[in-house]
Symmetry: C2
Subunit: 474 residues, 2 copies
């Protein structure tokens, strides 16, 4: 369908364009097109290279597999209403009252083969280019709402000047444009939709009018009665809030990681200790260790903050705690690999048959970006193991150009030396799985995420060797 035809079918509706149809933008397009408070016509824009996503959205297949049933419900409802279109045509911006920026902004990390972070850089050019296409096409009174996690200072120092320059080139006023920032707290998984629609939001604008318009828009898509909005004084503040809260989480995971090694040496169960300490209300969010930290946010956001300190605010203080968090977490999959060999007394994994259950970085979602299973897998391969991967949410591992098995029953019929629980998908917690594994002989089970319950471990230990990382008794 052409844009004009789509708009013709959606007369009198405010047009919202979403730039970027990834894990945030695609689901954002569902939430906006399903607003119960206002009728929007929603156009998702992505690059030509993402033609598969665009075609899928327009032809009845939502591109993200998720355990949240609301995703499919919302998508079917959007199809029924006919108010959702995907395109790579930049002209879409010219019809928009609101443009939501949900594109990527990556950090380039240089690490050695053990996960030691040697250096990193932030290349703002792709982001700048995307903002420029908005400026080249948008109305002069559009509201541009940036949701991308950016280095603090970006809305004022990057977005605003680019948009204004492009408006001036088109002889348009720069007085009316509104730029807001409100970061998403999207959680892929069973609460995917709710993590946008029913959750707290922080927002700001580059000026009073921008903040007011941002608030008005957010109120039409978020349940702000139950989850009140918080306004911060400027975009620097909201941009910083986002990287700060993710840095906090990354650091707290790193904390669990370093103490898990300690627990191993002292012969105690960290899981038990963490549970005991969590009874203190002030310590209730203490984390468990695991195979590592993955995904698009926690692996880079503290570095975005550090980068901005130097590049946007000319400071030479560094964020030691936050950067250290990323560094420690990056090494975790390598530690998990070493621990596996040590725990099962394997000098080498040569010709060992290993089944990795789960490659996604997070349970019940198909997202392999910066998954900690990737370095873990590569370590196994470098050690000449024969590795098969399974994941109910991922058919093809893009980062490694690898086909991923979808048939758990079949895989469990094969003969394995080691089975690794590497993602905590619900499917793996099915008692049937434990039952099948418990009948295997001489197998090693490595649970990196606390999937096995105490009674499972007792049952499995009769016939198999079981080592648990995620439960903390390393």
């Amino acid at each position: 369908m052409k844009i004009k035809e789509f708009l013709n079918n959606n007369k009198n509706k405010d047009v919202v364009v979403i730039q970027g149809l990834g894990f945030v933008g695609a689901v954002m397009s569902l939430v906006v097109s399903n607003s119960s408070k206002k009728n929007y016509a929603v156009i998702g824009v992505d690059r030509k290279e993402s033609n598969e996503i665009i075609t899928n959205i327009n032809n009845g297949t939502f591109p993200i597999k998720s355990s949240d049933p609301k995703i499919e419900q919302y998508y079917q409802n959007s199809i029924k209403k006919g108010n959702l279109l995907a395109t790579y045509n930049h002209l879409a911006y010219s019809y928009a009252s609101v443009i939501i920026v949900d594109i990527n902004l990556d950090v380039q990390k240089k690490s050695d083969s053990n996960g030691n972070l040697n250096s990193f850089n932030v290349d703002l050019n792709p982001f700048k280019k995307a903002i420029k296409t908005i400026g080249q096409n948008c109305k002069e009174d559009v509201l541009i709402l940036v949701e991308t996690t950016v280095p603090p200072g970006t809305c004022l120092k990057v977005v605003k000047p680019i948009i204004e320059a492009e408006l001036l080139k088109r002889n348009l006023s720069v007085e009316k444009v509104k730029i807001g920032h409100s970061y998403e707290r999207v959680m892929p998984g069973p609460e995917y939709i709710n993590s946008i629609k029913n959750f707290y939001r922080v927002y700001s604008g580059i000026d009073e009018n921008s903040a007011v318009e941002t608030e008005l828009f957010l109120k039409t898509i978020i349940s702000t009665k139950d989850y009140p909005l918080t306004r911060l004084i400027n975009t620097n503040a909201t941009e910083m809030a986002k990287v700060l809260e993710n840095s906090y989480r990354a650091m707290n995971i790193a904390f669990a990681v370093e103490w898990s090694r300690y627990a191993e040496e002292a012969g105690v169960n960290l899981y038990e200790i963490v549970n005991a300490i969590r009874m203190r209300p002030t310590h209730s969010n203490l984390m468990y260790p695991g195979i590592g930290v993955g995904g698009y946010c926690l692996t880079k956001d503290p570095l975005l903050a550090s980068w901005a300190k130097t590049n946007h605010f000319n400071s030479d203080h560094c964020l030691e705690q936050s950067e250290k968090g990323v560094q420690i977490n990056d090494k975790m999959p390598h530690f998990a690999f070493d621990y596996m060999k040590r725990a099962f007394s394997f000098k080498t994994l040569k010709y060992k048959k290993i089944l990795l259950l789960g490659i996604s970085y997070r349970s019940d979602v198909g997202d392999t970006r910066y998954s900690p299973v990737e370095p873990f897998y590569l370590n196994c391969i470098n050690d000449k193991a024969n590795v098969v991967t399974h994941d109910p949410y991922v058919k093809y591992w893009n980062e490694l150009n690898l086909k991923v098995s979808q048939n758990l029953d079949e895989e469990l019929k094969n003969d394995w030396d080691i089975i690794v629980f590497s993602t905590a998908h619900t499917e793996y917690k099915n008692p049937k799985v434990i039952s099948i594994i418990s009948k295997m002989s001489k197998i090693c089970i490595y649970d990196t995420l606390g999937i096995l319950k105490e009674k499972d471990i007792i049952e499995l230990n009769i016939n198999n060797k079981v080592k648990v990382l995620g439960r903390g008794d390393i």
Copy 2:
């Protein structure tokens, strides 16, 4: 009163001896002697050098000033019951069914004048000596309950062998002695008593019998119905739990500290950002920055853990996140001092008249151990300022051999260049204080702890210069 006379007055009561009458032991003696579940005769033992504390307890003056009214109530009740005695006589241990170890275990830090931690050491000798005095005197079936924060491994590797060696020297059995570990979570301040009596506890024993006896004893002094006990598998685990939870807190404060500098550079209010993020249940314990971290625990416990890694468990992994937390926090008072000069544009503080309101490390309690106000004060003095200190809870600053003013009204009549809120005592939050200060002319107010409310700051700014550190808008 002699011990024998005391015991004669307290016939048929189990004797509990508390070793160490400091901020934990003294208050512990009140909680035990006020048990509603069992009648105990409580003897507090301290060193001859602490004769003042001993004399005070025996003569009607409790040695700790606190804002918790229960402290005085409990003390008066103990006097009435006649079941509390203090002594330096080690013979006390020979009568005890239970001996609670509440002595210090210090870390020796070597830091430069800017608070940079160059090295540290743990000297276990004073602790070992104290345990030895127990072993030389105790019954063979005593329960020794260690509450002191120790390097993980200490109960098994230090306490047990010393006690057993001393029992053997006296031809006593080593089979019957019980050694438990249950760390306190004492919070001096308005909830001092409750932080012992009505709070969660973790415990363990060196063997099954020790754990059981520890539990039975704790149940007689703690409201375990509302605050259930958690048993961990061994003393390594509980010892680690304690240093882990304090490391977590120290690290999270350090996190706030490093982001507070960032906020200053980006011109945003960190306090506002922290409040916005705290709405997320997973981030509700995010901390505010301040003048620094003090007190006996958070300044050293992560280092105890690091020390034990090398010395008790032969590991060369270090606890990077946790140590970094201590390092960053140690520098905070120096940063607060530099910020004060920068914010008020003072090149030097020479001859400036400065009033420091509060020297205790914590609000509403008189405890100057490792107070961050100490390096802050010394920086002022080194810069040749004339500094007067006030603290309602501290008459004499032992660490600096300094008299401390007790009369706030008088001090506020004097002529000051800078008034610093350095401890958040309730007395300083009295509207009268703000009213008096607002009438001063040309004064600089430096609030390191968020004592001033938004309306106070507006009011004060009319006549004075106000800079706020603790509220985050550095």
